[in-house]
């Protein structure tokens, strides 16, 4: 009988182990990774595209996601900034659950750059406007908000006694300065990729490689904490793949955190600090590039590598 009780106690102890969910860790004030994905599931109708994925991306990591087409890698990436609404599960970015409808998603998306396979430059704007649109709009929006708050404060201060008056929020910028700063920043970024002379042309006159590099600096103009690349070179002519990969590699060397869905195995091996192999909506295997490409364990990964290498 005594033995029985002891066994039960031990068992319950095992169950009482610390709750490691992100919400619980946040509540305890513990550190969480830059991006943490928890039990992420995505279904399109009956089709399960992502099957209960839990994964994290630490600051400074360069994660490459490889796998056959239809394995869910693009969907996984698009769930990271909730461009695709997950069916269930949570996506934490800097400790905020992006799936939560109460979270202002636009605020967090500013800090996550995304680059698409099809570039998606705005066709109705020239290159400079493409890059400055978001910084200028958001800058002006914030400025207006601050000013509105100050106006309200000034009004309520009328009814407060001299000692209780609240101080106004600081306004250090102006609409003109926001526009000028955004423009200078855009020109600097364009100069960096050697396309300063293209500032006033429309995207339709540019080559695929040029468009994709501009799409990358457009995302960079927001000073993101992480860059998400969705097959950035898959729609490019072969001779233009190099210039785009070169730019991404530069960013990686500068320490930018990035998640890249790619079919360029050589690039993944060279740049990634960690490679995830996805198939059937699950992460089947992950490890350093040396482990994944040099010593694959999973049968499907071996099969996949034998086809693409």
């Amino acid at each position: 009988m005594k033995e029985e009780v002891k066994r039960q106690l031990l068992a319950s102890d095992a169950y009482a182990e610390e709750d490691v969910s992100v919400a619980a860790r946040l509540a305890r004030g513990e550190r969480v990774a830059l991006i943490e994905v928890e039990n992420l599931t995505k279904k399109f109708g009956d089709l399960v595209v992502l099957d209960d994925i839990t994964e994290k991306v630490e600051q400074g990591e360069k994660v490459a996601i490889i796998g056959p087409s239809g394995s869910g890698k693009s969907t996984f990436l698009r769930c990271l900034n909730v461009l695709e609404d997950p069916t269930s599960g949570a996506v934490y970015f800097e400790g905020a659950n992006l799936v939560d409808k109460k979270v202002d998603i636009n605020l967090h998306r500013r800090r996550m750059g995304m680059v698409f396979q099809q570039f998606n430059l705005f066709n109705n704007m020239n290159v400079l406007k493409n890059i400055t649109l978001a910084p200028v709009h958001i800058g002006l929006h914030d400025l207006r908000k601050t000013k509105a708050k100050n106006a309200l404060l000034r009004f309520t201060n009328l009814f407060r006694s001299a000692a209780n008056k609240k101080t106004l929020l600081p306004v250090q910028t102006s609409a003109k300065k926001i526009r000028e700063d955004a423009k200078q920043n855009a020109l600097r970024l364009l100069a960096r990729i050697g396309l300063a002379d293209k500032a006033n042309v429309y995207p339709s006159t540019l080559s695929g490689g040029q468009r994709q590099r501009i799409a990358i600096v457009r995302a960079l103009a927001m000073n993101p904490k992480v860059m998400l690349f969705d097959e950035p070179t898959s729609a490019l002519d072969p001779e233009m793949v190099g210039e785009v990969l070169e730019l991404i590699k530069e960013l990686a060397d500068e320490g930018m955190t990035m998640v890249i869905v790619t079919h360029e195995m050589g690039f993944a091996r060279e740049v990634a600090t960690r490679v995830l192999f996805m198939d059937g909506g699950k992460i089947q295997e992950q490890g350093t590039p040396q482990q994944i490409f040099g010593d694959p364990q999973n049968e499907r990964l071996k099969d996949f590598l034998s086809k693409v290498l």
Binding site: N81, L83, L107, M125, L133, A134, Y202, T205
Partner: protein, 230 residues
Amino acid sequence: MWDSFYEQFITYDGYKLVLQGLQNTMVIALLGLVIGIVLGTIVAVIHVAGTRSKVARVFAAVGDVYTTIFRGTPIVVQLLVFHFVIFLPLKININGVWESVIVFGLNSGAYVSEIMRGGIQSVDVGQLEAGRTLGLSFTVTMLKVVFPQAVKNVVPTLGNELIAITKDTSVAGYVGTTDLTLAFSSLASNDYKIILPYIFLALVYLVIVIIFTVIIRVVERRLRKSERRS
């Protein structure tokens, strides 16, 4: 034949009636289309945004009912219903021209909403996604990125709608609005010499439509050029 027409047109001040009719026709067609574009755009945007929330879905359903009714019944019937079933019994006393403007605006809105929906959906969804990933809201991305491109795509079709509505106004006379057709008809019915008035009526419509066609073509070319500018 000519003498009779000349007599009706000049001596008995028929031209004044015709000019009045021309003015009314243009007012009904142009204002009707403006109302139609505003209304149709709103309905189309609500429809496109319809999957985003429950409230939007309700509005989208209302928009669907609206387009179904106004596309599903002839414009003459709509004029008659508005005139005899709504305006007269409710003792709403407005000028026949404004009455026609309202009906033609509502009618055109139903068609324009479909045109606009097509235009918005013809813009690659990647454009919207790119805006959203930069942290811009749905509304801002729609206004600054998707919409300008959609408008460019629908200009030819909107031109078509302008031509169609201009010709449709010829039935405004059913509720007593003096439009171009009614003006010429009354010239013809004054002395039953009907051939010339109706031929001239047809020619006037033709000239109006040709002028519109040229204008639309110029606008189209302008819009396309702005994209190619380097």
